[in-house]
Each structure stands twice: as C-alpha cells, then as structure tokens.
C-alpha cells in the first residue's frame, strides 16, 4: 500500500505532544521490526517470541514504566490527560500483537486507578511502582463482575455478579470467592486487580499480589485468542489484603470499566488496522475471474469499503472517547456515571465494528484468511476474544441496560 495508515485514517496529531509522538513512533518501529516484519517466525514460536518481544517493549524500551509516577522513575502517563496517548500507543502494540496490548492495558489500568486513589495509599503506590520498575515483565490480571450461578445470590455491579467478597478483620480484610474467571492472564499473574464487594455489597477493587497465601489457580483454560496470556480460574480462600489495597471509593469500579473500554478499544483498533494492511495487500495482488485484480471487482470493492468504513469509524469513536475521558476545558463534562456509560457504549461499538471489519474482510481472502500463515485469522481470534470478555455476559445486554438506564432513567433493569 502506498499511503500510510495515518493518512488514510487520520489521527488527532495536532493535539499530541512531542513526547507522545516520540513514544508512538518508537512503538511503531518495535511493531514493524520485531513482530510484523517477522510474522511467520512469530506465529510458529509464539509462546517464546511473545515473551521475548514483550520484554523488549516493556522493559528495554520502558513501556512498562509508561503509567508509573514520574517522581519514581516512570513516565507519568497515568493521569487522565494522557489517556488518548495511551490508547494510541496501545493501537500500535495491537497492530503487532493483541496479547501484548492486553498485557500493557492491565498494567496501565492498574496504575491509573492506583494513582487516582493514592490518598492514604502513598506507601502502596511506592511499593507497587518499585516492583513494576523492576527487571521482570509484570502481569496484572483483572477480575471483573460477570455471570453469576443460578441459585447463588451475589452482590451486583449494575446487574453483573460480583464474584469475590471482602470481609473486614482487625488488621485488614480477607477476600473470598471460588472459581472466578479472570479477564485474562490469571495463570501467571503477579497481581490481581479484582472487583469485589464489601460487606454492604458495594463494589470495590482489591489489589492482591499473586503470591499471597490463599490463592488457588485452576488448570490452564484453552481460549480462542489472546493465547499468550494463559488464563485459569482463581479461588481466593480468605486471602488477606491490607486496608490500603482495598479501593472502596465509589468511582473506582466505573473508572476501571471506562479505562478498559478505552484502552482495549485501542488494542482492537490496532489489530483491525493490521488486518486492513493484510487485506489491502491481498486485494491488490490477488486476481479473480482470470485477470481482474480483486479490488477492481465492484462486489469485492464494496466489501473492502465496508471494512474501511468500520475501521475508520471505530478510530474516530476511539478518539472521541479519549477526548471525553481526558479533562479539557473544551470538552462537555460528564459525571462518572455518564463517562462510564459512554465508555461501555462506545467500547462495545468499537469492538463490534472491528470484529465486523475482520469478519467481512476474511470473506475476500478465501483460504488465505483461514490459514495461520497469513495472520488475518489471529487478529480475528484475538479481537473476538477481547469482544466477548469486555462486553460481558449476555452479548452486550448489560451494556444495553447501562445505556438505557442512563439515557431513559430506567430503574429496574
């Protein structure tokens, strides 16, 4: 393709600082050199190369430090002013590999939340930052509210069951919950960022180091995509948590959802963009009906147009969502609830748009779209996985309920 993705899909370049441009272009170089340029190798030795390339990105290039506080050696991109930049970085990562994008998303969400609610938790912030500054690749695993089990009542977060419960003890609290399915990466998580309910049933967030006694991990779950982030069911058996690692502020859980929708929108968009490139090359070089380039066939061109439209619209939506989340005197101001609603609504729309783009684009690729060698199918599996995980049980029905509640003031759904 002779025109760049930036030209074709546009970015809010004007709003972006020089630092951000620098990071984005570095990450792009990483994506192209380390992964996209060596796709076949990367696919064949995925488990090993994922780890190796993620280390280069997170540790050698410092992306693991991106959202850590500046005064402790991080880049300080944990504040709402940087969310658009973070989402843009994650798009670049997602273009190469969604698992790496999800891994970083979890880390960024963690530090955005931790620093936002740092008051009274200075010690915890410092200790966590120090551990994420360390040499190792850190894996954070989110536990979100989701489906409950029939016959077992749980506290709810906007209709979704909260699987883990906190009980106060003299010195702190304990966390309990059995067979909980984390979002991803539960098997080897260094830290769980778990949505749980306090004794009054109110949603809060517990930060639980993965090596705490009382954490049991089930066997590895085989999944459609995000295969590098081995997952497993987790049971917390009266796992002790300190007082400061329980975040009970009411805005915490909506903020977590808001950030996940934005950041994972970035990851999936990146995957969609790389799929667009693959499809672009294919439609340029593949010939049908004996002599017609695929893209010059009007029916195929109309499918190509649908693909481009879905990706372009998703990109615009992502930028708009980022603008809503960052504080700006020009933005119309939404409260936590409003922001949450926009985030889940747009987040679901982005995932749906990218998924539709890939699904339709594959129609033009025949068997090539289905062969691991061509990588299109990996983006398809990864984005589908993110979509199912993010939009929640009931095929985005909970998101629809959130939306209806906000816009129509529903009380009982």
């Amino acid at each position: 393709m002779n025109r760049s993705l930036d030209y074709l899909f546009g970015t809010a370049v004007g709003d972006r600082g020089e630092d951000a441009q620098g990071v984005i272009s570095l990450v792009r170089q990483w994506a192209e050199k380390e992964v996209i340029g060596n796709r076949l190798d990367y696919q064949r030795n995925y488990a090993v190369l994922f780890e190796e390339k993620a280390r280069v990105l997170a540790l050698s290039m410092g992306l693991q430090r991106l959202a850590l506080p500046e005064d402790q050696g991080g880049f300080g991109w944990h504040d709402p002013g940087h969310v658009a930049d973070v989402a843009a970085v994650l798009s670049e990562v997602g273009r190469a590999d969604s698992s790496t994008g999800v891994l970083l998303t979890m880390n960024y969400a963690l530090f955005s939340i931790l620093t936002r609610f740092s008051e009274g938790r200075e010690g915890l912030v410092e200790a966590m930052t120090a551990s994420y500054l360390d040499d190792g690749l850190k894996i954070t695993s989110c536990v979100l509210p989701g489906p409950g089990s029939a016959g077992r009542e749980t506290p709810l977060y906007k209709g979704r069951s909260i699987p883990a419960l906190v009980e106060s003890r003299d010195s702190g609290s304990t966390l309990s919950g059995a067979n909980i399915r984390p979002f991803a990466a539960g098997l080897r998580a260094d830290l769980f960022l778990a949505v749980c309910a306090d004794e009054k049933g109110r949603p809060c967030i517990a930060l639980v180091p993965g090596d705490k006694p009382g954490i049991q991990r089930g066997r590895e779950v085989l999944t459609t995509g995000l295969n590098a982030l081995a997952n497993a069911d987790i049971s917390f058996v009266e796992t002790e948590i300190t007082r400061e690692s329980l975040i009970q502020e009411p805005e915490a859980v909506p903020m977590l959802f808001t950030l996940l929708n934005l950041f994972l929108g970035g990851v999936s968009l990146g995957a969609g963009m790389n799929f667009f490139e693959i499809l672009g090359d294919w439609s340029h070089s593949r010939v049908i009906r004996g002599s017609t380039p695929l893209k010059e066939n009007p029916l195929c061109a109309s499918v190509l147009a649908d693909v481009a439209e879905d990706i372009a619209c998703s990109r615009l939506l992502l930028e708009d969502l980022a603008r809503l989340v960052s504080p700006s005197p020009r933005a119309w101001s939404l409260d936590t609830e409003g922001l949450y609603t926009y985030a889940v609504m747009i987040g679901a729309r982005i995932q749906k748009g990218i998924m539709r783009a890939i699904n339709r684009g594959m129609e033009l690729m025949g068997s090539a779209g289905y062969a691991k060698e061509w990588h299109a199918e990996k983006h398809w599996r990864d984005v589908k996985t993110i979509q199912s995980l993010l939009c929640g049980v009931g095929a985005a029905a909970p998101v629809k309920m959130d939306t209806a509640r906000f816009f129509y003031d529903c009380k009982e759904i």
């Binding site: 979100l144 989701g146 489906p147 409950g148 089990s149 029939a150 009542e153 749980t154 709810l156 209709g159 979704r160 069951s161 399915r181 979002f183 779950v221 085989l222 999944t223 459609t224 995509g225 995000l226 593949r286 010939v287 049908i288 009906r289 004996g290 066939n297 029916l299 195929c300 499918v303 998924m355 699904n359 594959m362 129609e363 033009l364 690729m365 025949g366 068997s367 289905y370 062969a371 691991k372 060698e373 199918e377 398809w380 599996r381 589908k384 996985t385 979509q387 199912s388 995980l389 939009c391 929640g392 049980v393 009931g394 095929a395 985005a396 029905a397 909970p398 629809k400 309920m401 759904i413």
Partner: protein, 424 residues
C-alpha cells in the same frame, strides 16, 4: 422444547434410513468423538486422536462404503433417490460434533460421486475403486483437488469461466494420461487421501468444456508429491496441503467420462458440496444451542437465569429461531438435489438449482457466522473458553462461508439466476 432434535425439518423429506442411522451414528459420535473433540485442535498435524475416531465411523461403521453398489460391498446409496438427504443427515449429525470430521467424510464421497450419480455413471471405475473403500475396516479418504495457487473460485465458477483458468494439465500419451500441475487446500490432502479426483485441462486457457477433464489419480502414483498439512484457525480434523503432479501417469480410462461429460459430472458436485456445507452448519448450530441452553439456564444476570432476562431472551430467541429456519432450508436444499431425477425436479447442472442451492448455503453460512459469534458474546468471559465448545464451532465454521468459491461467488451465481445476469 425438550430436545435439539425438535428443530424443524419437513418430516416427509426424511430418508428411509433416517431413524436407524441417527440412532447408530449418534451413539458412535457421542462415544468416540464428543469426549475427545476439545483436544482435536492440538492434534491437527499428527491426528493421533482423530485417526482412530475416523477408523470407527468410516471403517468399522462403514460409512465410506455408502455410495458403492451392494455388489461391490457398498450400501448402494448413490443409486437411491435419497442420497442428498442421507448425506445431509450424516453431515448434520457429524457436524454437531465436529465439522472438520464431517467435511473429511463428505469430501471422500465428493470425487466418487462423479462416477456414481446418474446420468454420469462409470461402472468400470466404480469396480476399480470399490475395493479401496469397501474391503477394509480402516478409514480410507478421497480428495477433490480443484483449488490451485492462483485461485479456487475461478475453477468453481464453471458457469462463467468453464475451466479457462485451470493450469493443471492432462496430456494423453497412448493409453495414459500425463498430469502436471499444482493443487492446494483440498480436504484430505496433507497426506491423508489415497485417491484424488483432479479437475484439469487438456488445452490450457480454453473455455471449451470439452477440454475440461476430471481424472482420478491414486495418491501413491509416481510423480505425486504432497506437502504437510497447513495450520488453520480451526477444522483440525481436516488436513489441507499442497499436491504437486509431476508427469504423473494414469491409465486413460481413469478419466471420468470424457469430453463435455466430465464438466457436467463435475458441475453436479458443486451442489452436493453446498448441501453438505449447509448440513455441517445446522449441525454445528444445533450443538451451539445445546451448550447455550445449559449456559443461559445455569448462569445469571441480576441473580436470575440469563434466559429469564428479556434482553438476553431476545437475543437467544433469535438465535434459536434462525437455527429452526436454517434447518428447514437445508432440508429443502437436500430435497432439491434428490428431486433431480423426478419429473418435477431440476437437473443438478441447471442454473436454477445451482443458484438456489448456492443461495441457501450463503444464507445459512451468514446466519451461522453471526449466531455463533453472538453466542460467544452471550457467554461473555466464558465465550472464548474451549470447554464450552461454542468457540470451536465459531472457528471451524467460518471457512464454510469462504470455501467452494467464496461467499461472493455464491452471491453472483444467485444473482445470475434470479436476475438473468449475463456477464457475471
């Protein structure tokens, strides 16, 4: 509804074998395939688990013999007036467990149908190949090697291109055909098949159907080289790879029927493939329904079973409704095939039958792709989990929408018939 069998199908269409086959096959499938299928993906290359399951259903149960006449040890079904409906039922049952296995079995029938289906019967070749399939308890596979590196759709687009783009050549030398070319992707390639049906051209670049040849090539013939299987998003039970024919010599009578008739016999295959594809899809969707039923009954939103929530019920109701409609359509497609010899039926090579059956397959594929995707979303964080089986069907069936010339070719053949398009 008490059971997935209650999804609608016109009962008057069922083949006389329906009840018996369903009982026997389902037992086999539930004992031999269902318990292991979650491990098939990792078995894509070696087929250590998959091969014994094939031996059971194809060899021991004998399904691979089904087409051959009884005098050769077969079941004589190619000569019956319910071969399409029998195939539909078989493919649906197997597709419920594993569409990859279903396609491997159905494609074994595919090239063999070219010599079995009236009005294109070749007794000598039937007698030649019957022992390969009928005198063993081990699974034996055949492949239909159409697709070539430059494109598969054009070769299947017989109505328009009439074999013009085929590059695999057949040259007659004395009483032999000499075949040269490169095929890729056929089901049961990658080292599996013992027999290939090979569409080739006797005059490259010709759009005269007399130059289209369908020639059988035993996989162990000198000059045949096969690559290993490709790694795919799904359908691990079907191996697909490259086949090179390098001055491969076979007896002249291995050509199916001769000039003109080969093209007709081959064209009959297209609709059979589309009917089988539709059956794989309804089978997979019925299993999706079973798994989804369990999930929405036992998992909750607002502490009530998901299925008791109107918003979720709206989604799953639509999914089940689509399965019901698709199954009726699938049986109708199969019946169109079986009506071919009746006074009120259409020949398999008619534009009307090809267009209508392609249209049904296209419609059902779209419904399946969408509904399996939606079902995964209903399961939320469990959607991508192999243990719930839905994600496997989602991965497996996407290719059904793309193979046999691709979705767009289905749309074109359907438009060609319904709107009398002349150049598409």
């Amino acid at each position: 509804m008490d059971h997935f069998d209650e999804f609608s199908r016109p009962l008057e269409y069922l083949s006389p074998l329906d009840k018996h086959l369903r009982t026997v096959l389902r037992t086999y499938i539930e004992q031999e395939i269902m318990p292991l299928r979650r491990r098939y993906d990792e078995d894509w290359k070696e087929h250590t688990l998959i091969e014994p399951a094939f031996d059971k259903i194809m060899g021991e149960l004998g399904l691979q013999k089904a087409l051959f006449p009884q005098e050769y040890g077969g079941w004589g079904l190619a000569g019956s007036d319910y071969i399409f409906r029998f195939a539909y039922q078989l493919c649906e049952e197997l597709g419920r467990a594993d569409t990859g296995m279903a396609v491997a079995l159905a494609v074994t029938f595919w090239p063999l149908l070219v010599i079995h289906l009236e009005p294109y019967v070749n007794e000598r070749l039937i007698a030649e190949f019957a022992p390969m399939f009928c005198s063993t308890n081990k699974a034996v596979f055949a492949a239909n090697a159409m697709t070539e590196p430059q494109g598969g759709s054009d070769i299947e687009n017989m109505g328009l291109l009439k074999g013009r783009t085929i590059r695999t050549t057949a040259r007659q030398e004395g009483d032999q055909w000499v075949i040269n070319g490169h095929k890729l992707w056929p089901t049961n390639s990658g080292g599996t098949a013992r027999l290939f049906g090979v569409p080739c051209t006797t005059r490259p670049g010709s759009a005269d159907i007399d130059d289209f040849a369908f020639i059988y090539v035993p996989a162990d013939a000198k000059g045949v080289t096969q690559g290993g299987p490709y790694e795919k998003a799904g359908m691990a039970a079907d191996k697909n790879g490259d086949i090179w024919f390098d001055d491969v010599r076979v007896p002249a009578w291995y050509r199916a029927h001769g000039p003109g008739r080969d093209a007709g016999a081959f064209y009959q295959l297209i609709s059979f493939g589309q009917v089988a594809s539709t059956a794989f899809l309804t089978g997979a969707m019925m299993n999706m329904y079973e798994r989804l039923y369990e999930f929405v009954s036992t998992r909750t939103y607002r502490n009530r079973p998901l299925k008791e929530n109107e918003a979720v019920a709206g989604i799953i109701g639509r999914i089940a409704g689509d399965i019901d409609i698709c199954r009726i359509l699938g049986h109708e497609a199969a019946m169109m095939g079986d009506r071919r010899n009746k006074p009120y039926g259409l020949p398999l090579v008619s534009e009307e039958l090809v267009g209508k059956i392609r249209n049904i397959k296209d419609f059902v594929s779209d419904r399946a792709v969408e509904n399996l995707g939606k079902a995964m979303d209903v399961l939320g964080c469990y959607g991508p989990d192999r243990d719930w089986d839905i994600e496997k069907h989602w991965r497996d069936i996407k290719i059904i929408q793309l193979w046999m010339g691709g979705k767009q070719l289905c749309q074109m053949e359907s438009a060609r018939y319904f709107f009398n398009c002349e150049t598409l």
